[in-house]
């Protein structure tokens, strides 16, 4: 299991190939990956650039917890998460989640679980810049309609 939060751009295919080379050879049957890419529009407005803030320490800890929870729930061989912070431009990879398993069903389920819970729990905040130079905080993420709502495991909401 490896979790990396980094400022520099990365090539998802290269990260997956490099990590896979460190795994025992010939033991896993497949790998499912999700790569989230920066789009040049959001909520109907053009976006020229983005800054991604995070909470060093807490962010990595929560991604690791999500990966550990996935490894407890599904029979997987290993998982890798890479997430950018800092300045990001359209078409950049923002996040990579890769899960290796003997049977593909477990890798699909675990990969989807990790990205869904990472988006719910890991402290990252997107600040978008429009082509005119205006900045705005993204207020909420879109949800996967199939994401489970796990009572007690989502971030506490402070109803005021």
């Amino acid at each position: 299991m490896k979790v990396v939060v980094q400022e520099s751009p990365f090539e998802p295919g290269q990260m997956v190939a490099d990590y896979q080379n460190s795994l025992p050879r010939g033991k896993h049957g497949g790998v499912v990956t999700f790569v989230g890419t920066m789009r040049d529009f959001n909520d109907g407005q053009d976006v020229a650039a983005m800054r991604l803030d995070y909470y060093p320490g807490m962010t990595e800890k929560h991604i690791e917890q999500v990966c550990e929870e996935a490894a407890q729930r599904w029979d997987i061989v290993d998982s890798l998460v890479v997430h950018r912070h800092g300045d990001i431009y359209p078409n950049d990879a923002i996040v990579l989640v890769a899960v290796w398993s003997a049977h593909r069903a477990n890798a699909f389920d675990a990969c989807r679980f990790i990205i869904n819970y990472l988006k719910e729990r890991a402290p990252f905040w997107k600040c978008e810049t429009t082509p005119a130079g205006d900045k705005r905080w993204v207020e909420h993420n879109s949800r996967d309609p199939k994401a489970e709502v796990a009572a007690g495991s989502a971030p506490a909401k402070t109803a005021e």
């Binding site: 803030d53 909470y55 990472l118 905040w125 600040c127 207020e139 909420h140 971030p155 909401k157 005021e160």
Partner: protein
């Protein structure tokens, strides 16, 4: 006792700083009490998230000396 309070994203813009150390009389205080101090009594924005020592918690949580408390809006990573 002293508590470090950290703000992120739009909460940082609202509070005008990234972090501050808050001194509180006595041995214990709740998150809600610290919020009242740092915000000068303003209500907490709806859907504010709270972490103590990098774990999610709520406004009723009790703090101890040296804790790191954080307030931030809903997360938008991934």
């Amino acid at each position: 006792m002293n508590v470090t309070v950290r703000y992120f994203a739009s909460m940082r813009d609202r509070m005008g700083c990234a972090d501050e150390v808050v001194s509180i009389g006595g041995d214990a205080s709740t998150v809600a009490a610290v919020w009242t101090m740092v915000s000068e009594g303003k209500p907490m924005p709806p859907s504010t998230l709270i972490a103590v020592n990098m774990s999610y918690t709520d406004a009723a949580a009790v703090l101890k000396d040296g804790d790191e408390l954080a307030f931030f809006p809903p997360v938008t990573g991934g």
